[in-house]
């Protein structure tokens, strides 16, 4: 190291300059930030990058109202609850493609479609940083209500707003593959669907046993919660958005799919103009093909016998049908060797299927729509959940 002893002054100047530079950069940034934030709040109703609008005026009362009146009356209307929570900027959702129903509901009651990013636990709801939190009936809602390990023990002190009742339901868990795969392997698809639906039927008839099977197959969700989940998932599989019973498992309900597509077109905001145009022009025929399910009973020999399916989320009773079909040997009976790949990572099921890494996937219909708009060619071959499992949960006084 060569350095001169007169370095002190140079160094002080150096440090000062670096600090000043950084500070001025920062000052420039923060100076511009409020303007940008308000601009985003205005634009937010059209923006999928929903930035929660912080409203200084409304946070004040909620902070001071720690007393009994903080939550909602058991008899309060959905409209009043949604308006209040949205006004305070305290509606939560996980984002990442799970938010469209919430945005549709917010729009229904003429609120900005902004929300807070909710972590994948209910701590935010528990500590009141989120007043109206997203929850799946079969998962988070159970954790909030129940008192088993991991539960928040609220019992009857919480109520939920159901998306189906509000007419903003979008269909969730389906089975899909690429169009090319379906065309090249029709018998495999048919056989896979037949065996999977057999699994779902068995699981719905024996939810407790199904929960045990999932638990045995590597799920780490506690067995109590797993049993709760199985009983709730059964309802989603066997009831449609209108509340009517469904007997044909995996049926492609075109009316509900159309509602999903319509809502998706309204609330999936794509920055890419090519993708946005594609979304606008999309019809049901671009996203689903019912022929494989209908003809599934008369399947010939599978073209590809070793197949895999990636789940939408971590292994849990949400996917009990596949685990049951695997465990009970339904897949084997159909001449298939099936591998179940858990999801929940950042390589989404749509990407995994599209890239050919797995053959089938379970995703939400809205995610499939977004992926196809983005340029994938995926097709839904069965609709497992016949109604929306998403609710907004709130505490009652």
């Amino acid at each position: 190291m060569k350095k001169t002893s007169k370095g002190k002054s140079i160094n002080l100047v150096a440090l000062a300059t670096v600090c000043a530079l950084t500070l001025s950069l920062l000052a420039g940034c923060t100076g511009g930030a409020p303007a940008a934030a308000s601009a985003s709040a205005e634009a937010s109703s059209e923006s999928v990058a929903a930035t929660a609008a912080p409203e200084a005026s409304s946070t004040e009362p909620s902070a001071s109202a720690e007393a009994a009146g903080m939550y909602y009356d058991a008899a309060a209307t959905v409209e009043s609850i949604v308006k209040d929570a949205a006004g305070k900027g305290m509606v939560g959702n996980w984002g990442l493609g799970n938010e469209y129903e919430i945005q549709a509901l917010l729009s229904k009651y003429v609120q900005p479609t902004t929300f807070l990013s909710q972590a994948f636990d209910m701590d935010g709801f528990d500590d009141d940083s989120i007043l109206l939190a997203s929850a799946m009936t079969y998962n988070e809602l159970g954790l909030v209500k129940n008192s088993y390990d991991g539960g928040y023990k609220y019992g009857d002190k919480v109520k939920a707003i159901d998306m189906n009742d509000e007419g903003v339901a979008m269909l969730e868990d389906n089975i899909f593959c690429t169009e090319a795969f379906a065309k090249a392997n029709p018998n495999t698809v048919k056989a896979f669907l037949a065996a999977s639906m057999k699994g779902w039927k068995y699981a719905c008839e024996n939810p407790e046993e199904a929960a045990q099977i999932v638990f045995k197959n590597g799920s780490s969700v506690s067995s109590e919660h797993q049993a709760y989940m199985a009983s709730e998932v059964k309802k989603l599989v066997e009831t449609d958005t209108k509340g009517a019973t469904v007997t044909e498992y995996g049926k492609l309900d075109d009316a509900a799919l159309q509602q999903t597509l319509d809502l998706a077109k309204k609330y999936i905001m794509l920055k890419d103009s090519v993708a946005a145009d594609k979304l606008k022009a999309m019809t049901l025929d671009d996203i689903r093909d019912a022929s494989y399910l209908a003809g599934s009973s008369s399947a010939g020999t599978p073209e590809k016998s070793s197949v895999s399916i990636q789940l939408k989320w971590l292994p849990q009773a949400q996917f009990m049908g596949y685990y049951v079909a695997l465990d009970k040997g339904f897949y084997k009976e159909s001449g298939l060797d099936v591998k179940i790949v858990p999801g929940g990572g950042d390589i989404s099921e749509t990407t995994a299927v599209y890239s050919g890494q797995v053959d089938f996937g379970v995703t939400w219909v809205s995610n499939l729509i977004a992926a196809n708009a983005g340029g994938m060619t995926l097709t839904e071959v069965a609709q497992v959940f016949q109604r929306s499992g998403l609710v907004l949960v709130h505490k009652v006084n």
């Binding site: 638990f215 590597g218 799920s219 780490s220 990572g345 950042d346 995994a352």
Partner: protein, 282 residues
């Protein structure tokens, strides 16, 4: 200066610091325990984490929390190991290539930096499209994330060879191959190990990171499942501590390997470096 006594007092100081850290943690945990309904999600007491390690309660069909962590640590560390070796090899070869050809160095150097700046979320789908296999993709990404320190340090090693030594080699009309074999490569080894020491803990954090890309096995997958409350949150806390410990161990492992690989070099290095490491030169 007696190195042994110094080392002992160093150990003592580290120990005291660790104690202080534990104290701060516990104070925080006590505070959290009083204000939160689910304190274990925010900051559990350390004894609770230790307790969870020894708990015999099964959290899935067949394993306790700690068994899950251990089983998945095996998967992650195996991937980290392969990724690390791949990264080290790529790093060394790149450095060699850059030293052989100035043009390559000029072209590659800025881009090596830029590659490091691409978030793996962007990189992953491309690698996946190429390999069609998530586990291969994971190893490759881990390698991409770890080769940089090895490459830069090794290159620095090549450049640190004194000019007069090189001149001497030229004077005795040594071939390029001989210069590399007898002078450049041996003298860059300490630098190479320096790079390895930096990238070994990185390989482990990188491997945990790429686990989260998709389900399956691995510490990262369990970490994210635990965060998503699909299993007890203590799995998360155990992984936090395990990853820190393994990271530190991996660094020391590289030191040990260095010692084994080049004992005489190590001995010389210790003599040179030891005083400087502790205080001003004697």
């Amino acid at each position: 200066m007696e190195p042994n006594r110094k080392q002992d007092s160093n150990r003592l100081a580290t120990f005291v610091w660790v104690l202080a850290l534990i104290l701060i943690w516990e104070l925080g945990a006590t505070l959290v325990a009083q204000t939160k309904r689910t304190p274990e999600n925010v900051l559990p007491h350390l004894y609770q984490i230790v307790e969870s390690v020894f708990s015999t309660k099964l959290v899935n069909g067949s394993q306790t929390a700690f068994q899950i962590v251990l089983a998945n640590a095996g998967i992650t560390l195996a991937r980290a190991g392969i990724g690390f070796m791949l990264g080290a090899a790529i790093g060394f070869l790149l450095a060699l290539l850059m030293n052989l050809m100035k043009t390559v160095e000029k072209i590659a150097f800025p881009y090596l930096m830029i590659i490091q700046m691409i978030p793996i979320l962007g990189m992953a789908p491309i690698v996946l499209a190429v390999t069609k296999d998530i586990d291969k993709s994971r190893v490759i990404i881990a390698a991409i994330l770890t080769f940089y320190p090895v490459a830069t340090n090794t290159l620095a090693g090549f450049k640190a060879v004194p000019g007069e030594k090189l001149e001497l080699m030229h004077v005795i009309a040594a071939s390029k191959f001989e210069i590399y074999r007898k002078l450049l490569i041996p003298s860059c080894i300490p630098y190479f190990f320096t790079g390895l020491k930096v990238s070994a803990p990185m390989a482990i954090t990188a491997s945990i990171l790429v686990d989260t890309l998709q389900g399956g096995g691995g510490l990262g997958t369990m970490l994210s499942q635990s965060l998503k409350h699909a299993m007890t949150i203590y799995v998360f806390w155990q992984i936090v501590f395990l990853s820190a410990i393994v990271g530190i161990l991996s660094y020391h492992l590289m030191s040990v390997i260095e010692k084994l690989a080049a004992p005489h070099r190590w001995a010389r290095k210790v003599k040179l470096d030891e005083p400087a490491q502790l205080d001003e030169p004697a």
